[in-house]
């Protein structure tokens, strides 16, 4: 075998990998037919492969999947929720709202925001913390009144929202949009949150 061409063993491996050129294959075949050593070498390689392949196939042990699942960090799940919330800002607002309901946020908000306020519009009149839509006037926008009442004698071409207050509608008054009275605090907070996302 020492006198054999160096490439013969290389050709054997190429042949075993199914990647041999035709010329090389011919050369290998011719050589093996005449050289006992190389034939023996080749058969040993074939046998080796058969042995390695005979190693019985084995399956993962029982309970493997459960152990893997138990090893996963729980944070990943939370991260998923966070990502989901980022993609759904309205629900994020709802979650925030629920969170704030549990905290001391309310009293703080109550103290800070007790002032009478309303939509700035020159057509509106004000009497003792009551906003008046005078008869015959038409307000061409949404009207919001905080911590006060509204009396509608004219017309509002938009929504009317009253927060912590009362709404009085005269017979002749009209509102084309929605009328909302928000007097409970959490509803008001809800309103604030909703408006953030408008």
């Amino acid at each position: 075998m020492t006198s054999c061409p160096k490439q013969i063993v290389h050709y054997m491996h190429e042949y075993l990998d199914g990647e041999i050129e035709n010329d090389a294959k011919e050369e290998l075949k011719l050589h093996i037919e005449t050289c006992e050593d190389c034939k023996h070498h080749y058969l040993e390689l074939k046998k080796t492969i058969a042995f390695v392949q005979s190693a019985s196939h084995i399956a993962a042990p029982a309970g493997f999947k459960a152990r893997v699942m138990a090893s996963l960090p729980r944070d990943k799940k939370k991260m998923g929720v966070e990502r989901w919330l980022r993609n759904h800002p309205f629900f994020t607002a709802a979650a925030l709202f629920l969170l704030l309901m549990g905290g001391g946020f309310f009293s703080m908000l109550e103290q800070r925001d007790h002032q009478f306020a309303f939509t700035k519009n020159s057509e509106l009149k004000v009497e003792n913390e009551t906003v008046i839509v005078p008869p015959g006037t038409v307000i061409e926008e949404d009207v919001v009144v905080k911590n006060g009442d509204i009396r509608i004698e004219g017309a509002v071409n938009g929504d009317v929202t009253v927060i912590n207050g009362e709404r009085y509608m005269a017979a002749a008054g009209s509102v084309t949009g929605e009328i909302e009275e928000i007097d409970r605090l959490f509803e008001r907070l809800w309103f604030e949150i909703k408006s953030l996302f408008k």
Partner: protein, 187 residues
Amino acid sequence: MDLMVQRRIKQVLKGDQNAFGEIVELYKDKVYQICFRMLWDRHEAEDAAQETFLKAFLNIHTYNQDKKFSTWLYRIATNLCIDKIRKKKPDYHLDAEIAGTDGLNMYSHLSSGDQLPEEEVESLEVQETIRQAILLLPEKYRSVIVLKYVEELPLQEIADILELPLGTVKTRVHRGREALRKHLRHL
């Protein structure tokens, strides 16, 4: 199957752990088999396989969905096993010297209490010889031999898994086969 796997991966990326459970179910035997044939110890193999899936879960965002998922997963498994082999090299040396000690564990594992017919015991002895021959292979040859002859993967896929040039993989398969031949020729 690939389409199903891709869909599950998208669900995992959205934070769905149950979808990952289905991936584990699909690949657990293959991954465990790679680990076992690399390490030849069922406890270590289970640890390595479990670590493989944990690592895959934690790094799922780094998996490129244009590529084959199994290639990426098997890469994690083989790299983990190669690390383990490197770390515990002195032990392996010892095992090779006290031939048969670990083999007894293998026997009890495979027979699981049943009485075995003669020829099966014989085949277990053959298996033990194969085990030792593979254990004597340096890890760089062991990984290509396991992927080629146990998992029966094409050379190009082995190159992708190990992130090696195809030529290097071919050379390692050749050398690995020659090394095994030296130990198994007398069987």
